[in-house]
Symmetry: C2
Subunit: 312 residues, 2 copies
Protein backbone atom coordinates (compact mmCIF):
# COMPACT_ATOMS: atom_id res chain seq x y z
CA UNK A 1 0.00 0.00 0.00
CA UNK A 2 1.21 3.49 -0.90
CA UNK A 3 0.31 6.62 1.10
CA UNK A 4 -0.09 10.04 -0.51
CA UNK A 5 -0.33 13.15 1.67
CA UNK A 6 -2.22 16.23 0.42
CA UNK A 7 -2.20 18.83 3.18
CA UNK A 8 -3.97 21.38 0.97
CA UNK A 9 -6.45 19.10 -0.84
CA UNK A 10 -8.90 20.77 -3.22
CA UNK A 11 -12.10 20.40 -5.10
CA UNK A 12 -10.97 21.11 -8.68
CA UNK A 13 -13.61 22.83 -10.82
CA UNK A 14 -13.27 23.42 -14.54
CA UNK A 15 -15.56 25.91 -16.30
CA UNK A 16 -15.70 26.07 -20.07
CA UNK A 17 -16.84 29.46 -21.44
CA UNK A 18 -17.13 30.55 -25.09
CA UNK A 19 -14.60 33.37 -24.45
CA UNK A 20 -13.39 34.95 -21.20
CA UNK A 21 -13.83 38.74 -21.12
CA UNK A 22 -12.94 40.57 -17.90
CA UNK A 23 -15.83 42.59 -16.39
CA UNK A 24 -18.42 40.80 -18.56
CA UNK A 25 -21.05 38.22 -17.60
CA UNK A 26 -20.49 34.65 -18.85
CA UNK A 27 -22.69 31.63 -19.27
CA UNK A 28 -20.64 28.56 -18.30
CA UNK A 29 -21.32 25.88 -20.94
CA UNK A 30 -19.65 22.95 -19.16
CA UNK A 31 -18.79 22.26 -15.51
CA UNK A 32 -16.54 19.46 -14.26
CA UNK A 33 -15.68 18.79 -10.63
CA UNK A 34 -13.22 16.32 -9.08
CA UNK A 35 -10.91 15.80 -6.10
CA UNK A 36 -7.64 17.68 -6.57
CA UNK A 37 -4.41 18.72 -4.99
CA UNK A 38 -1.18 17.01 -6.04
CA UNK A 39 -1.38 14.03 -3.68
CA UNK A 40 -4.94 13.16 -4.73
CA UNK A 41 -3.93 13.42 -8.40
CA UNK A 42 -0.95 11.11 -7.75
CA UNK A 43 -3.29 8.68 -5.97
CA UNK A 44 -5.68 8.59 -8.93
CA UNK A 45 -2.84 7.65 -11.31
CA UNK A 46 -1.44 5.06 -8.88
CA UNK A 47 -4.87 3.45 -8.58
CA UNK A 48 -5.26 3.45 -12.38
CA UNK A 49 -2.03 1.45 -12.76
CA UNK A 50 -3.14 -1.06 -10.13
CA UNK A 51 -1.76 0.16 -6.78
CA UNK A 52 -3.74 0.37 -3.55
CA UNK A 53 -3.41 3.89 -2.18
CA UNK A 54 -4.36 5.52 1.11
CA UNK A 55 -4.84 9.26 0.84
CA UNK A 56 -4.41 11.55 3.80
CA UNK A 57 -4.13 15.26 4.53
CA UNK A 58 -7.05 17.49 5.51
CA UNK A 59 -10.66 17.86 4.39
CA UNK A 60 -13.36 20.08 5.85
CA UNK A 61 -16.54 22.03 5.20
CA UNK A 62 -19.04 21.39 2.39
CA UNK A 63 -16.27 21.03 -0.17
CA UNK A 64 -14.48 18.54 2.10
CA UNK A 65 -17.66 16.48 2.38
CA UNK A 66 -17.91 16.42 -1.41
CA UNK A 67 -14.27 15.26 -1.53
CA UNK A 68 -14.99 12.36 0.88
CA UNK A 69 -18.00 11.31 -1.20
CA UNK A 70 -16.06 11.38 -4.47
CA UNK A 71 -13.15 9.42 -3.02
CA UNK A 72 -15.59 6.75 -1.75
CA UNK A 73 -16.39 6.05 -5.41
CA UNK A 74 -12.76 5.61 -6.51
CA UNK A 75 -11.55 1.99 -6.70
CA UNK A 76 -8.30 1.06 -4.85
CA UNK A 77 -8.33 4.40 -2.97
CA UNK A 78 -8.77 4.45 0.84
CA UNK A 79 -9.80 7.80 2.29
CA UNK A 80 -7.88 8.75 5.44
CA UNK A 81 -8.23 12.53 5.12
CA UNK A 82 -8.25 14.09 8.58
CA UNK A 83 -10.97 16.56 9.65
CA UNK A 84 -10.42 20.32 9.70
CA UNK A 85 -13.01 22.90 10.82
CA UNK A 86 -12.36 25.21 7.84
CA UNK A 87 -13.53 24.44 4.32
CA UNK A 88 -11.40 22.60 1.77
CA UNK A 89 -10.41 25.04 -0.97
CA UNK A 90 -11.77 25.05 -4.50
CA UNK A 91 -9.51 25.62 -7.47
CA UNK A 92 -11.19 26.91 -10.59
CA UNK A 93 -9.79 26.57 -14.10
CA UNK A 94 -11.72 28.74 -16.59
CA UNK A 95 -11.10 27.40 -20.09
CA UNK A 96 -11.64 29.85 -22.94
CA UNK A 97 -13.12 27.71 -25.73
CA UNK A 98 -12.00 30.18 -28.40
CA UNK A 99 -8.29 30.33 -27.53
CA UNK A 100 -7.98 27.13 -25.45
CA UNK A 101 -6.22 29.18 -22.75
CA UNK A 102 -6.89 28.61 -19.06
CA UNK A 103 -7.32 31.21 -16.31
CA UNK A 104 -6.73 29.77 -12.86
CA UNK A 105 -8.36 30.97 -9.59
CA UNK A 106 -7.19 29.22 -6.42
CA UNK A 107 -8.86 29.61 -3.03
CA UNK A 108 -6.37 29.78 -0.14
CA UNK A 109 -7.57 26.72 1.79
CA UNK A 110 -8.66 26.34 5.43
CA UNK A 111 -6.53 27.55 8.33
CA UNK A 112 -5.36 24.45 10.20
CA UNK A 113 -5.29 24.85 14.00
CA UNK A 114 -2.42 23.48 16.13
CA UNK A 115 -4.80 20.84 17.55
CA UNK A 116 -5.83 19.72 14.04
CA UNK A 117 -2.19 19.55 12.96
CA UNK A 118 -1.29 17.48 16.05
CA UNK A 119 -4.18 15.07 15.40
CA UNK A 120 -3.06 14.70 11.77
CA UNK A 121 0.52 13.96 12.85
CA UNK A 122 -0.72 11.16 15.12
CA UNK A 123 -2.81 9.54 12.40
CA UNK A 124 0.01 9.95 9.83
CA UNK A 125 2.52 8.31 12.17
CA UNK A 126 0.12 5.42 12.75
CA UNK A 127 -0.35 5.04 8.96
CA UNK A 128 3.36 4.95 8.08
CA UNK A 129 3.98 2.31 10.78
CA UNK A 130 1.18 0.10 9.47
CA UNK A 131 2.41 -3.24 8.04
CA UNK A 132 2.40 -3.24 4.24
CA UNK A 133 3.10 0.47 3.77
CA UNK A 134 5.47 0.47 0.78
CA UNK A 135 6.08 4.20 0.20
CA UNK A 136 4.85 7.69 1.05
CA UNK A 137 4.50 10.75 -1.19
CA UNK A 138 4.29 14.22 0.38
CA UNK A 139 2.75 16.54 -2.16
CA UNK A 140 1.93 20.17 -2.77
CA UNK A 141 1.59 23.42 -0.89
CA UNK A 142 0.86 23.91 2.82
CA UNK A 143 -2.48 25.38 3.91
CA UNK A 144 -2.44 28.37 6.31
CA UNK A 145 -1.60 27.36 9.88
CA UNK A 146 0.59 24.36 9.06
CA UNK A 147 4.21 25.04 10.17
CA UNK A 148 6.64 25.68 7.31
CA UNK A 149 8.79 22.79 8.56
CA UNK A 150 5.85 20.36 8.25
CA UNK A 151 7.38 18.25 5.51
CA UNK A 152 10.65 17.86 7.42
CA UNK A 153 8.63 16.33 10.29
CA UNK A 154 6.71 14.03 7.95
CA UNK A 155 9.92 12.93 6.18
CA UNK A 156 11.53 12.08 9.53
CA UNK A 157 8.46 10.15 10.71
CA UNK A 158 8.47 8.08 7.49
CA UNK A 159 12.19 7.41 7.75
CA UNK A 160 11.81 6.39 11.41
CA UNK A 161 9.22 3.86 10.23
CA UNK A 162 11.67 2.71 7.49
CA UNK A 163 9.23 3.68 4.76
CA UNK A 164 10.73 5.33 1.66
CA UNK A 165 9.44 8.88 1.16
CA UNK A 166 9.14 11.14 -1.89
CA UNK A 167 8.73 14.91 -1.50
CA UNK A 168 7.13 17.10 -4.18
CA UNK A 169 6.69 20.69 -3.04
CA UNK A 170 8.31 24.09 -3.53
CA UNK A 171 9.78 27.11 -1.77
CA UNK A 172 10.64 27.08 1.91
CA UNK A 173 8.69 23.84 2.66
CA UNK A 174 10.91 22.11 0.03
CA UNK A 175 14.09 23.66 1.44
CA UNK A 176 13.25 22.46 4.96
CA UNK A 177 11.98 19.09 3.75
CA UNK A 178 15.11 18.32 1.71
CA UNK A 179 17.28 18.83 4.80
CA UNK A 180 15.37 15.98 6.51
CA UNK A 181 16.84 13.58 3.90
CA UNK A 182 13.88 12.27 1.89
CA UNK A 183 14.55 9.32 -0.45
CA UNK A 184 13.45 11.26 -3.53
CA UNK A 185 12.59 14.89 -4.29
CA UNK A 186 10.96 15.72 -7.62
CA UNK A 187 11.29 19.45 -8.32
CA UNK A 188 10.51 20.99 -11.68
CA UNK A 189 12.99 23.39 -13.28
CA UNK A 190 11.56 26.48 -11.51
CA UNK A 191 11.42 24.80 -8.09
CA UNK A 192 14.97 23.54 -8.55
CA UNK A 193 16.22 27.00 -9.50
CA UNK A 194 14.43 28.53 -6.50
CA UNK A 195 15.99 25.92 -4.18
CA UNK A 196 19.55 26.12 -5.49
CA UNK A 197 19.85 29.48 -7.23
CA UNK A 198 21.05 27.74 -10.40
CA UNK A 199 19.15 27.55 -13.72
CA UNK A 200 21.57 24.92 -15.04
CA UNK A 201 19.80 21.55 -14.47
CA UNK A 202 22.93 19.37 -13.98
CA UNK A 203 24.45 21.72 -11.48
CA UNK A 204 21.17 22.44 -9.69
CA UNK A 205 20.26 18.76 -9.40
CA UNK A 206 23.67 17.91 -7.88
CA UNK A 207 23.29 20.83 -5.50
CA UNK A 208 19.79 19.70 -4.42
CA UNK A 209 21.24 16.29 -3.63
CA UNK A 210 23.99 17.79 -1.49
CA UNK A 211 21.25 19.55 0.51
CA UNK A 212 20.08 16.15 1.78
CA UNK A 213 17.89 14.27 -0.72
CA UNK A 214 19.11 10.74 -1.46
CA UNK A 215 17.89 11.05 -5.04
CA UNK A 216 16.79 14.10 -7.03
CA UNK A 217 14.55 13.66 -10.06
CA UNK A 218 14.14 16.96 -11.87
CA UNK A 219 11.21 17.22 -14.27
CA UNK A 220 12.26 19.32 -17.26
CA UNK A 221 8.96 19.55 -19.16
CA UNK A 222 9.18 18.25 -22.72
CA UNK A 223 12.85 17.34 -22.09
CA UNK A 224 11.81 14.59 -19.68
CA UNK A 225 13.57 13.77 -16.39
CA UNK A 226 17.08 14.14 -15.01
CA UNK A 227 17.76 11.76 -12.10
CA UNK A 228 20.76 11.94 -9.79
CA UNK A 229 20.64 8.93 -7.46
CA UNK A 230 22.95 6.83 -5.28
CA UNK A 231 22.88 4.19 -8.09
CA UNK A 232 23.80 6.51 -10.94
CA UNK A 233 22.68 9.43 -13.04
CA UNK A 234 20.20 9.19 -15.92
CA UNK A 235 18.38 11.32 -18.46
CA UNK A 236 14.99 9.92 -19.53
CA UNK A 237 13.15 11.41 -22.51
CA UNK A 238 9.95 10.64 -24.40
CA UNK A 239 10.69 9.15 -27.84
CA UNK A 240 9.02 12.10 -29.54
CA UNK A 241 7.54 15.43 -28.59
CA UNK A 242 4.00 15.00 -27.22
CA UNK A 243 1.54 17.85 -27.70
CA UNK A 244 -1.33 18.66 -25.37
CA UNK A 245 -2.11 19.98 -21.90
CA UNK A 246 0.75 19.65 -19.36
CA UNK A 247 -1.63 19.95 -16.35
CA UNK A 248 -0.97 16.99 -14.05
CA UNK A 249 2.07 15.72 -15.98
CA UNK A 250 4.27 16.25 -12.89
CA UNK A 251 1.81 14.37 -10.66
CA UNK A 252 1.82 11.45 -13.12
CA UNK A 253 5.63 11.44 -13.04
CA UNK A 254 5.47 11.20 -9.21
CA UNK A 255 3.05 8.26 -9.53
CA UNK A 256 5.50 6.55 -11.91
CA UNK A 257 8.47 7.05 -9.59
CA UNK A 258 6.54 6.02 -6.50
CA UNK A 259 5.04 2.85 -8.02
CA UNK A 260 8.51 1.88 -9.30
CA UNK A 261 9.93 2.46 -5.83
CA UNK A 262 7.18 0.35 -4.22
CA UNK A 263 7.81 -2.44 -6.76
CA UNK A 264 11.62 -2.26 -6.21
CA UNK A 265 12.21 -1.61 -9.91
CA UNK A 266 15.69 -0.45 -10.97
CA UNK A 267 16.01 3.30 -11.58
CA UNK A 268 15.90 3.16 -15.40
CA UNK A 269 12.55 1.31 -15.28
CA UNK A 270 11.13 3.79 -12.74
CA UNK A 271 12.19 6.69 -14.92
CA UNK A 272 10.76 5.12 -18.10
CA UNK A 273 7.44 4.62 -16.35
CA UNK A 274 7.44 8.18 -14.99
CA UNK A 275 8.21 9.68 -18.42
CA UNK A 276 5.60 7.52 -20.21
CA UNK A 277 2.87 8.34 -17.64
CA UNK A 278 3.76 12.00 -17.79
CA UNK A 279 3.67 12.14 -21.61
CA UNK A 280 0.42 10.12 -21.67
CA UNK A 281 -1.06 12.78 -19.37
CA UNK A 282 -0.04 15.61 -21.71
CA UNK A 283 -1.64 13.67 -24.60
CA UNK A 284 -4.94 12.93 -22.81
CA UNK A 285 -8.01 14.94 -23.84
CA UNK A 286 -9.07 15.58 -20.21
CA UNK A 287 -6.62 17.72 -18.19
CA UNK A 288 -4.87 15.69 -15.47
CA UNK A 289 -5.99 12.27 -16.72
CA UNK A 290 -3.54 9.97 -18.50
CA UNK A 291 -4.32 8.09 -21.70
CA UNK A 292 -3.64 4.35 -21.08
CA UNK A 293 -3.21 3.51 -24.78
CA UNK A 294 -0.58 6.25 -25.22
CA UNK A 295 1.10 5.05 -22.00
CA UNK A 296 1.38 1.44 -23.21
CA UNK A 297 2.61 2.61 -26.58
CA UNK A 298 5.24 5.02 -25.20
CA UNK A 299 6.59 2.95 -22.27
CA UNK A 300 8.91 0.60 -24.26
CA UNK A 301 10.17 3.53 -26.38
CA UNK A 302 11.23 5.97 -23.61
CA UNK A 303 14.94 6.74 -24.04
CA UNK A 304 16.83 6.33 -20.73
CA UNK A 305 20.55 7.13 -20.94
CA UNK A 306 23.11 6.85 -18.14
CA UNK A 307 25.21 9.98 -17.95
CA UNK A 308 28.41 10.85 -16.13
CA UNK A 309 27.87 14.60 -16.33
CA UNK A 310 26.04 14.93 -13.05
CA UNK A 311 28.08 12.48 -10.93
CA UNK A 312 29.16 13.97 -7.65
Amino acid sequence: MIITVTLNAALDLTYRVPALTPHASHRVTEVTERPGGKGLNVARVLAAIGHDVTVTGFAGGDTGRTLHERLAGEPRVTDALAPVAGATRRTLAVVDATTGDTTQLNEPGPTVTPAEWAAFLDSYTELVHRAGTAAVALCGSLPPGVPVGAYALLVRAARAARVPVLLDTSGEPLRRGVAARPDIVKPNADELAELTGSHEPDRATRDARRRGAHAVVASLGADGLLAVTPDGTWRARPPERVRGNPTGAGDSAVAGLLSGLAEHLPWPDRLARAVALSAATVAAPVAGEFDPVTYDELLPRVVVAATASATT
Copy 2:
Protein backbone atom coordinates in the same frame (compact mmCIF):
# COMPACT_ATOMS: atom_id res chain seq x y z
CA MET B 1 -46.59 34.45 5.25
CA ILE B 2 -45.04 35.34 1.88
CA ILE B 3 -43.83 32.73 -0.64
CA THR B 4 -40.91 33.35 -2.96
CA VAL B 5 -40.24 30.97 -5.85
CA THR B 6 -36.70 30.53 -7.20
CA LEU B 7 -36.77 27.86 -9.88
CA ASN B 8 -33.08 28.35 -10.68
CA ALA B 9 -31.70 28.85 -7.16
CA ALA B 10 -27.94 29.25 -6.83
CA LEU B 11 -25.02 29.14 -4.49
CA ASP B 12 -23.50 32.60 -5.00
CA LEU B 13 -19.71 32.71 -4.66
CA THR B 14 -17.67 35.90 -4.62
CA TYR B 15 -13.90 35.77 -5.15
CA ARG B 16 -11.73 38.79 -4.50
CA VAL B 17 -8.46 38.81 -6.47
CA PRO B 18 -5.76 41.52 -6.52
CA ALA B 19 -6.25 41.92 -10.32
CA LEU B 20 -7.91 39.63 -12.87
CA THR B 21 -5.62 38.77 -15.80
CA PRO B 22 -6.92 36.29 -18.39
CA HIS B 23 -4.71 33.18 -18.83
CA ALA B 24 -2.83 33.86 -15.59
CA SER B 25 -3.00 32.04 -12.24
CA HIS B 26 -4.61 33.91 -9.33
CA ARG B 27 -4.58 33.54 -5.60
CA VAL B 28 -8.08 34.30 -4.31
CA THR B 29 -7.69 36.52 -1.24
CA GLU B 30 -11.29 36.38 0.00
CA VAL B 31 -14.14 33.91 -0.59
CA THR B 32 -17.77 34.50 0.33
CA GLU B 33 -20.59 32.04 -0.25
CA ARG B 34 -24.34 32.43 0.23
CA PRO B 35 -27.73 31.29 -1.10
CA GLY B 36 -28.64 33.15 -4.28
CA GLY B 37 -31.07 33.42 -7.12
CA LYS B 38 -33.56 36.30 -7.16
CA GLY B 39 -36.27 34.68 -5.03
CA LEU B 40 -33.82 33.77 -2.26
CA ASN B 41 -32.41 37.32 -2.29
CA VAL B 42 -35.93 38.73 -2.03
CA ALA B 43 -36.64 36.35 0.87
CA ARG B 44 -33.53 37.52 2.75
CA VAL B 45 -34.67 41.17 2.52
CA LEU B 46 -38.25 40.29 3.48
CA ALA B 47 -37.00 38.42 6.55
CA ALA B 48 -34.75 41.36 7.47
CA ILE B 49 -37.75 43.72 7.53
CA GLY B 50 -39.73 41.29 9.70
CA HIS B 51 -41.77 39.10 7.32
CA ASP B 52 -42.05 35.32 7.56
CA VAL B 53 -41.11 33.84 4.19
CA THR B 54 -41.34 30.36 2.71
CA VAL B 55 -38.89 29.78 -0.11
CA THR B 56 -39.51 27.21 -2.81
CA GLY B 57 -38.11 26.22 -6.18
CA PHE B 58 -35.49 23.50 -6.72
CA ALA B 59 -32.32 22.43 -4.92
CA GLY B 60 -30.12 19.41 -5.66
CA GLY B 61 -26.62 17.95 -5.48
CA ASP B 62 -23.84 19.02 -3.12
CA THR B 63 -24.51 22.69 -3.78
CA GLY B 64 -28.22 22.13 -3.07
CA ARG B 65 -27.37 20.50 0.24
CA THR B 66 -25.24 23.52 1.14
CA LEU B 67 -28.20 25.74 0.25
CA HIS B 68 -30.54 23.80 2.56
CA GLU B 69 -28.02 24.06 5.40
CA ARG B 70 -27.53 27.79 4.97
CA LEU B 71 -31.28 28.46 4.81
CA ALA B 72 -31.76 26.49 8.05
CA GLY B 73 -29.67 29.18 9.75
CA GLU B 74 -31.73 32.13 8.45
CA PRO B 75 -34.36 33.46 10.85
CA ARG B 76 -37.97 33.83 9.60
CA VAL B 77 -37.17 31.77 6.46
CA THR B 78 -38.85 28.37 5.93
CA ASP B 79 -37.14 26.11 3.40
CA ALA B 80 -39.58 24.39 1.03
CA LEU B 81 -37.14 23.93 -1.89
CA ALA B 82 -38.13 20.81 -3.85
CA PRO B 83 -35.58 18.10 -4.69
CA VAL B 84 -33.97 17.79 -8.12
CA ALA B 85 -31.46 15.07 -9.12
CA GLY B 86 -29.09 17.55 -10.82
CA ALA B 87 -26.88 19.95 -8.90
CA THR B 88 -27.93 23.50 -7.99
CA ARG B 89 -25.83 25.94 -10.02
CA ARG B 90 -23.07 28.11 -8.65
CA THR B 91 -22.69 31.71 -9.75
CA LEU B 92 -19.25 33.21 -9.36
CA ALA B 93 -18.51 36.94 -9.14
CA VAL B 94 -14.78 37.64 -9.47
CA VAL B 95 -14.07 41.08 -8.02
CA ASP B 96 -10.90 42.79 -9.23
CA ALA B 97 -9.61 44.64 -6.14
CA THR B 98 -7.62 47.07 -8.28
CA THR B 99 -10.45 48.32 -10.51
CA GLY B 100 -13.45 47.24 -8.42
CA ASP B 101 -14.93 45.64 -11.55
CA THR B 102 -16.74 42.31 -11.42
CA THR B 103 -16.50 39.39 -13.86
CA GLN B 104 -19.48 37.05 -13.63
CA LEU B 105 -19.47 33.29 -14.39
CA ASN B 106 -22.85 31.55 -14.15
CA GLU B 107 -23.30 27.77 -14.23
CA PRO B 108 -26.38 26.70 -16.23
CA GLY B 109 -28.26 24.92 -13.43
CA PRO B 110 -29.68 21.39 -13.23
CA THR B 111 -31.95 19.96 -15.89
CA VAL B 112 -35.36 19.50 -14.28
CA THR B 113 -37.20 16.33 -15.38
CA PRO B 114 -40.95 16.32 -16.14
CA ALA B 115 -41.54 14.25 -12.96
CA GLU B 116 -39.60 16.75 -10.82
CA TRP B 117 -41.53 19.65 -12.36
CA ALA B 118 -44.86 17.88 -11.71
CA ALA B 119 -43.89 17.22 -8.08
CA PHE B 120 -42.92 20.87 -7.64
CA LEU B 121 -46.27 22.02 -9.11
CA ASP B 122 -48.12 19.88 -6.56
CA SER B 123 -46.18 21.25 -3.62
CA TYR B 124 -46.45 24.85 -4.91
CA THR B 125 -50.23 24.49 -5.31
CA GLU B 126 -50.49 23.15 -1.78
CA LEU B 127 -48.39 26.09 -0.48
CA VAL B 128 -50.44 28.84 -2.16
CA HIS B 129 -53.68 27.32 -0.79
CA ARG B 130 -52.31 27.24 2.74
CA ALA B 131 -54.14 29.58 5.17
CA GLY B 132 -52.14 32.71 5.89
CA THR B 133 -50.40 32.95 2.53
CA ALA B 134 -50.37 36.69 1.86
CA ALA B 135 -48.48 36.97 -1.43
CA VAL B 136 -46.25 35.08 -3.88
CA ALA B 137 -43.21 36.29 -5.82
CA LEU B 138 -42.06 34.37 -8.91
CA CYS B 139 -38.45 35.31 -9.55
CA GLY B 140 -35.66 34.81 -12.03
CA SER B 141 -34.69 32.59 -14.93
CA LEU B 142 -35.89 29.05 -15.67
CA PRO B 143 -33.48 26.13 -15.35
CA PRO B 144 -33.17 23.73 -18.32
CA GLY B 145 -36.15 21.37 -18.61
CA VAL B 146 -38.76 23.67 -17.08
CA PRO B 147 -41.38 24.61 -19.74
CA VAL B 148 -41.14 28.20 -21.00
CA GLY B 149 -44.76 28.75 -19.94
CA ALA B 150 -43.95 27.78 -16.33
CA TYR B 151 -44.64 31.20 -14.84
CA ALA B 152 -48.01 31.44 -16.59
CA LEU B 153 -49.01 28.20 -14.83
CA LEU B 154 -47.73 29.44 -11.46
CA VAL B 155 -49.51 32.80 -11.85
CA ARG B 156 -52.81 31.01 -12.62
CA ALA B 157 -52.41 28.66 -9.64
CA ALA B 158 -51.85 31.64 -7.30
CA ARG B 159 -54.79 33.54 -8.73
CA ALA B 160 -57.01 30.44 -8.40
CA ALA B 161 -56.02 30.39 -4.70
CA ARG B 162 -56.82 34.16 -4.49
CA VAL B 163 -53.23 34.96 -3.51
CA PRO B 164 -51.72 38.10 -5.08
CA VAL B 165 -48.72 37.29 -7.27
CA LEU B 166 -45.70 39.34 -8.42
CA LEU B 167 -43.63 38.23 -11.43
CA ASP B 168 -39.99 39.26 -11.91
CA THR B 169 -38.38 37.56 -14.87
CA SER B 170 -37.39 38.32 -18.46
CA GLY B 171 -37.69 37.24 -22.08
CA GLU B 172 -40.20 34.64 -23.19
CA PRO B 173 -41.03 33.45 -19.62
CA LEU B 174 -42.03 37.07 -18.84
CA ARG B 175 -44.05 37.40 -22.07
CA ARG B 176 -46.00 34.20 -21.31
CA GLY B 177 -46.30 35.01 -17.61
CA VAL B 178 -47.72 38.51 -18.20
CA ALA B 179 -50.51 37.04 -20.33
CA ALA B 180 -51.67 35.01 -17.30
CA ARG B 181 -52.56 38.33 -15.55
CA PRO B 182 -50.22 38.60 -12.53
CA ASP B 183 -51.01 41.33 -9.99
CA ILE B 184 -47.62 43.00 -10.44
CA VAL B 185 -44.74 42.65 -12.87
CA LYS B 186 -41.45 44.39 -12.07
CA PRO B 187 -39.32 44.62 -15.21
CA ASN B 188 -36.18 46.74 -15.46
CA ALA B 189 -35.71 49.04 -18.46
CA ASP B 190 -34.05 46.35 -20.61
CA GLU B 191 -36.66 43.70 -19.80
CA LEU B 192 -39.44 46.18 -20.50
CA ALA B 193 -37.92 47.14 -23.87
CA GLU B 194 -37.50 43.46 -24.78
CA LEU B 195 -41.14 42.76 -23.86
CA THR B 196 -42.71 45.75 -25.60
CA GLY B 197 -40.21 46.87 -28.25
CA SER B 198 -40.25 50.39 -26.80
CA HIS B 199 -37.35 52.13 -25.03
CA GLU B 200 -39.66 54.93 -23.85
CA PRO B 201 -40.61 54.02 -20.21
CA ASP B 202 -44.09 55.60 -20.12
CA ARG B 203 -45.16 54.02 -23.37
CA ALA B 204 -43.54 50.65 -22.59
CA THR B 205 -45.05 50.45 -19.09
CA ARG B 206 -48.56 51.14 -20.45
CA ASP B 207 -47.99 48.54 -23.15
CA ALA B 208 -46.84 45.94 -20.59
CA ARG B 209 -50.03 46.56 -18.66
CA ARG B 210 -52.17 46.05 -21.76
CA ARG B 211 -50.50 42.64 -22.17
CA GLY B 212 -52.19 41.45 -18.97
CA ALA B 213 -50.43 42.65 -15.81
CA HIS B 214 -52.74 44.43 -13.34
CA ALA B 215 -49.87 46.70 -12.28
CA VAL B 216 -46.49 47.30 -13.88
CA VAL B 217 -43.63 48.66 -11.76
CA ALA B 218 -40.65 49.46 -13.96
CA SER B 219 -37.30 49.82 -12.20
CA LEU B 220 -35.31 52.55 -13.91
CA GLY B 221 -32.02 52.31 -12.02
CA ALA B 222 -30.97 55.57 -10.38
CA ASP B 223 -34.22 57.16 -11.65
CA GLY B 224 -36.28 55.02 -9.28
CA LEU B 225 -39.59 53.36 -10.13
CA LEU B 226 -42.44 54.05 -12.54
CA ALA B 227 -45.70 52.36 -11.45
CA VAL B 228 -48.80 52.03 -13.61
CA THR B 229 -51.56 50.49 -11.47
CA PRO B 230 -55.36 50.23 -11.33
CA ASP B 231 -55.24 52.90 -8.58
CA GLY B 232 -53.11 55.42 -10.43
CA THR B 233 -49.68 56.15 -11.90
CA TRP B 234 -46.65 57.22 -9.85
CA ARG B 235 -42.99 58.04 -10.18
CA ALA B 236 -40.93 57.29 -7.05
CA ARG B 237 -37.34 58.54 -6.78
CA PRO B 238 -34.63 58.49 -4.10
CA PRO B 239 -34.12 61.98 -2.58
CA GLU B 240 -30.53 62.05 -3.87
CA ARG B 241 -28.29 59.99 -6.07
CA VAL B 242 -26.89 56.98 -4.14
CA ARG B 243 -23.48 55.63 -5.15
CA GLY B 244 -22.39 52.01 -4.78
CA ASN B 245 -22.98 48.53 -6.15
CA PRO B 246 -26.40 48.01 -7.81
CA THR B 247 -26.24 44.19 -7.41
CA GLY B 248 -29.47 43.07 -5.74
CA ALA B 249 -31.15 46.49 -5.88
CA GLY B 250 -33.94 45.04 -8.05
CA ASP B 251 -34.50 42.16 -5.62
CA SER B 252 -34.76 44.63 -2.73
CA ALA B 253 -37.35 46.62 -4.71
CA VAL B 254 -39.37 43.41 -5.16
CA ALA B 255 -39.18 42.79 -1.39
CA GLY B 256 -40.45 46.33 -0.79
CA LEU B 257 -43.39 45.94 -3.20
CA LEU B 258 -44.27 42.49 -1.92
CA SER B 259 -44.18 43.41 1.78
CA GLY B 260 -46.33 46.49 1.03
CA LEU B 261 -48.78 44.27 -0.85
CA ALA B 262 -48.94 41.78 2.04
CA GLU B 263 -49.49 44.64 4.51
CA HIS B 264 -52.20 46.21 2.28
CA LEU B 265 -50.30 49.50 2.13
CA PRO B 266 -51.44 52.08 -0.42
CA TRP B 267 -49.33 52.22 -3.59
CA PRO B 268 -47.32 55.35 -2.70
CA ASP B 269 -46.15 53.71 0.56
CA ARG B 270 -45.23 50.47 -1.25
CA LEU B 271 -43.23 52.45 -3.79
CA ALA B 272 -41.45 54.54 -1.15
CA ARG B 273 -40.43 51.34 0.65
CA ALA B 274 -39.25 49.71 -2.58
CA VAL B 275 -37.16 52.74 -3.56
CA ALA B 276 -35.64 53.13 -0.07
CA LEU B 277 -34.75 49.42 0.18
CA SER B 278 -33.30 49.49 -3.31
CA ALA B 279 -31.16 52.57 -2.65
CA ALA B 280 -30.04 51.17 0.73
CA THR B 281 -28.86 48.05 -1.15
CA VAL B 282 -26.80 50.13 -3.59
CA ALA B 283 -25.24 51.93 -0.62
CA ALA B 284 -24.39 48.77 1.39
CA PRO B 285 -20.75 47.69 1.50
CA VAL B 286 -21.63 44.00 0.82
CA ALA B 287 -23.18 43.34 -2.62
CA GLY B 288 -26.84 42.32 -2.36
CA GLU B 289 -27.28 43.27 1.31
CA PHE B 290 -29.17 46.43 2.30
CA ASP B 291 -27.97 48.89 4.87
CA PRO B 292 -30.74 49.32 7.53
CA VAL B 293 -29.52 52.73 8.70
CA THR B 294 -29.57 54.13 5.15
CA TYR B 295 -33.02 52.54 4.67
CA ASP B 296 -34.50 54.22 7.76
CA GLU B 297 -32.90 57.51 6.79
CA LEU B 298 -34.11 57.43 3.15
CA LEU B 299 -37.65 56.04 3.64
CA PRO B 300 -39.37 59.30 4.76
CA ARG B 301 -37.54 61.27 2.07
CA VAL B 302 -38.42 59.23 -1.04
CA VAL B 303 -40.24 61.45 -3.53
CA VAL B 304 -43.46 59.81 -4.79
CA ALA B 305 -45.37 61.84 -7.36
CA ALA B 306 -48.67 60.97 -8.98
CA THR B 307 -48.49 61.50 -12.71
CA ALA B 308 -51.06 61.63 -15.46
CA SER B 309 -48.60 60.93 -18.24
CA ALA B 310 -48.95 57.18 -18.20
CA THR B 311 -52.71 56.92 -17.67
CA THR B 312 -54.33 54.49 -20.09
